[in-house]
Amino acid sequence: MDASIILFYVISVLLVLSSLMVVFLRNVVHCALALVAALFLIAILFVMLHAPMVGVLQVLVYAGAIMVLFLFVIMFLNPTASEPRRKLWWGFGSLAALLLAASLAALLSNGEAPADPVAATETFGSPETLAKSLFTDFVLPFEITSVLLLVAIIGAVVLAKREP
């Protein structure tokens, strides 16, 4: 058995567990923390998949910024009411999700596994390669994304402003 496969199994089990924790835990803060854990694990998977730059970005942006924001808001709002649960809805939802997972899996696993073309290159997934793609082929989406972020900032400020 390959070391990478064992690693994969471990990480995937942990990932699934933390996702389930995100969805099923009662305390919001606990859910947020579980999500952070999940994001980290996904970052590890990224690195395993020869995408180190994206993995680092995942940690920096997602786990680092977005989740901090989430926690910030949770603690800002400090919601105390506990949420009611309905067994029927839970069962139904779980069933639907199960179906979804099953059909997706069935669909996706019908392709042939191609040969591994990436093992040879050293630079695949490195910052230089990513940057090169970004600033040549995808420069327009790049610029538009910056505008998008600007809009998001302004929008957030306007929306969350306390009315005088």
């Binding site: 639907a96 979804l100 059909s103 669909l107």
Partner: protein, 645 residues
């Protein structure tokens, strides 16, 4: 009876005959108020005079030419089916033209006086000119469709003019009655027309042209021709007031007297006879229809005459007399003696118009009184009216050498001697002639002779009518004598009339049985019964006596009342037809329409609403529900893709 072929000449003049009265009508309609009553009336009369002048001119030129035609434009063009707005004048039309425009002109002049003080005088002339326009369309149309336009148009004008004094509700009801009963006839007419077109079309000929119809008429089977002619006769019965559609004509007397004279005596009501004469080539191929026509004509003539015996309104007597004389015309048609029918139409126009205008003169003099029981002794006050009335009465009664004598005798002789005639027909016609003489002289004596029973305050104002009214009376009276001289029997000086109409109807009528002696004998018999009628009228009404009352109470008064109430036919129609129909209409309007039709529409609306009430529940406002919907759809799609694999 095949008409000889004729030359056809196109002349643009024809269209002006109807057009000038139409223009005058329109001018009066829009500018009449500004022109003032005198000018408007003058314009209307001038327009008809112009048409009469053209008619005379065309009449003068006709024998040399044969037939005139004027095509205005092509109205309908659908494949090989063409209908043109086109006029034709042949010998038959020429006669009708002279009657319509000539007598129409005289009546227009008369109306200047009769309607002179009426505030609706301009409107009157608008309608009257419009009527001339449509009537000319009717007689000059060279295809059935143009004839039908005229047919409908004169019905419209009749309605407008009967209900002329519309402030009195009874007049509008009479107008409605005329129009509706006419419409029933028109329904038959249209069906006949459509059947004719489609049947011929089945044989490949698509036309409504009279000349072309005549050429191809033998393509139709006898049964179809019988059906077509029956339907067309329904139309004629409506327009010309034959049984069972005559009920509108007596009520039509609600209109002003010139209207009764022009429309309901001389022209419109004769349209039915004209139409059958125009389509004679069709009718002669349907012997069953012809015998039906003859029977109905004879029955109508007789029954109307019996009703006229008892009427007390001066115009009603004349109305039933018109119905009766129209019956004579249809007897002639039914025998196939079309020339005789048109001849009687011609002479009847003169003396009936004279009678009506004379009665109008009396009514005018008596400030609107129409009840003959309140008249009497007017001979002294209204001399011109009296003498013209006498002449016209002699004419209608068939006094020797008057117009009515020749035309009525012509028909009676044909009834007796023609192969399609019969002794029974002759007998009924002969009796009716006697009745005619009786009731007409009864009227004469009641109105002009004896003691004056006029109300005192009216008596003070009695005056003879102005020249504008009396001159037409004189002209018409002259016509009542001399017009008939055109159609004398062979043993006298022969019939110019028959000769004139020979290109149309094909010349001499065959006398199947009966010789010259028979003809003379029959004439003498007719004179005899006419004289008998005169004498009876004189003895009962000509002198002061209790006879009228004793006659009325004969047999318990039952027969008298039956005749007075015109056999209760209006009441019978009311119960049998009008009331069920009204009931159905009311049911449809109040039950069916709101309940079923509206119900259906409302049910659809309710259904849509109910449907949407259910489906709108999908919009719960809960985002998670919407997402669940998303998920369901996605699963469906995925299942589809899986199936694909």
């Amino acid at each position: 009876m095949v008409a000889t072929t004729q030359a056809v000449v196109t002349v643009d003049l024809l269209r002006w005959m109807p057009l000038i009265p139409l223009l005058a009508s329109l001018i009066n309609m829009f500018f009449g108020a500004r022109l003032g009553r005198k000018t408007a009336g003058g314009l209307a009369c001038a327009a008809v005079l112009a048409s009469f002048a053209i008619a005379l001119y065309v009449f003068w030129l006709l024998p040399a030419t044969g037939m005139f035609r004027d095509t205005v434009y092509t109205w309908i063009e659908s494949g090989s089916f063409q209908v043109k707005l086109s006029f034709q004048v042949d010998a038959l039309t020429a006669v009708m033209l002279l009657v319509v425009t000539g007598i129409g002109f005289l009546i227009h002049i008369y109306s200047l006086g009769y309607m002179g003080h009426d505030e609706g005088m301009v409107r009157f002339f608008v309608y009257l000119n419009l009527f001339i326009f449509f009537m000319l369309l009717l007689v000059m149309g060279d295809n059935l469709l143009v004839l039908f336009i005229g047919w409908e148009g004169v019905g419209l004008c009749s309605y407008l003019l009967i209900g002329f004094w519309y402030h009195d509700h009874a007049n509008t009801i009479a107008g409605n009655k005329a129009f509706i009963v006419n419409r029933i006839g028109d329904f038959g007419f249209v069906l006949g027309l459509l059947l004719l077109v489609t049947e011929l079309g089945r044989q490949g000929i698509w036309t409504l042209d009279f000349m072309e119809l005549q050429q191809h008429v033998n393509l139709l089977s006898p049964e179809k021709i019988t059906l077509i002619t029956l339907l067309l006769f329904v139309g004629a019965a409506g327009k010309s007031a034959q049984i069972p559609l005559f009920v509108w004509l007596p009520d039509a007397m609600a209109g002003p007297t010139p209207v009764s004279a022009l429309i309901h005596a001389a022209t419109m009501v004769t349209a039915g006879a004209y139409m059958t004469a125009r389509l004679h080539f069709l009718f002669v191929l349907a012997p069953e229809t012809l015998s039906l026509i003859a029977t109905i004509g004879a029955a109508t003539a007789f029954f109307a005459a019996t009703v006229a015996l008892t009427q007390t309104d001066i115009k009603r007597v004349l109305a039933y007399s018109t119905v009766s004389q129209l019956g004579y015309m249809f007897v002639a048609v039914g025998i196939g003696a079309f020339s005789a029918a048109i001849f009687h139409l011609f002479t009847h126009a003169f003396f009936k118009a004279c009678l009506f205008l004379g009665s109008g003169s009396v009514i005018h003099a008596l400030d609107g009184e129409q009840d003959m029981r309140k008249m009497g002794g007017l001979k002294a006050y209204l001399p011109t009216t009296y003498w013209t009335y006498v002449i016209a009465t002699l004419a209608i009664a068939g006094a020797p050498f008057t117009a009515g004598f020749f035309s009525k005798d012509f028909i009676l002789w044909q009834a007796y001697s023609s192969p399609r005639g019969s002794t029974e027909l002759w007998f009924v016609g002969w009796l009716t002639a006697g009745l005619t003489a009786f009731y007409m002289f009864r009227q004469l004596f009641l109105v002009f002779h004896g003691e004056c029973r006029v109300d005192e305050h009216v008596k003070a104002h009695i005056h003879e009518s102005p020249a504008v009214m009396t001159v037409p009376l004189v002209v018409l009276a002259a016509g009542s004598i001399f017009a008939g001289w055109l159609g004398a029997p062979e043993y006298l000086w022969g019939s110019l009339w028959d000769h004139w109409l020979q290109p149309i109807f094909g010349g001499a009528h065959e006398a199947a049985h009966g010789s010259l002696t028979d003809e003379i004998n029959l004439t003498l018999l007719t004179l005899a019964i006419g004289g008998l009628g005169f004498l009876l009228a004189y003895f009962i009404y000509g002198r002061a006596s209790k006879l009228p009352d004793r006659l009325a109470s004969l047999a318990g008064g039952g027969p008298y009342r039956l005749l007075l109430h015109k056999y209760y036919i209006d009441e019978i129609y009311d119960v049998l037809i009008v009331r069920p129909f009204t009931y159905c209409s009311r049911w449809l309007a109040q039950v069916f329409d709101p309940g079923v039709i509206d119900g259906l529409v409302n049910a659809v609306a309710r259904g849509a609403r109910g449907f949407s009430l259910i489906w709108r529940e999908v919009q719960t406002g809960n985002v998670q529900h919407y997402l669940a919907g998303f998920l369901a759809a996605t699963l469906a799609l995925l299942a589809y893709f899986l199936k694909q694999q």
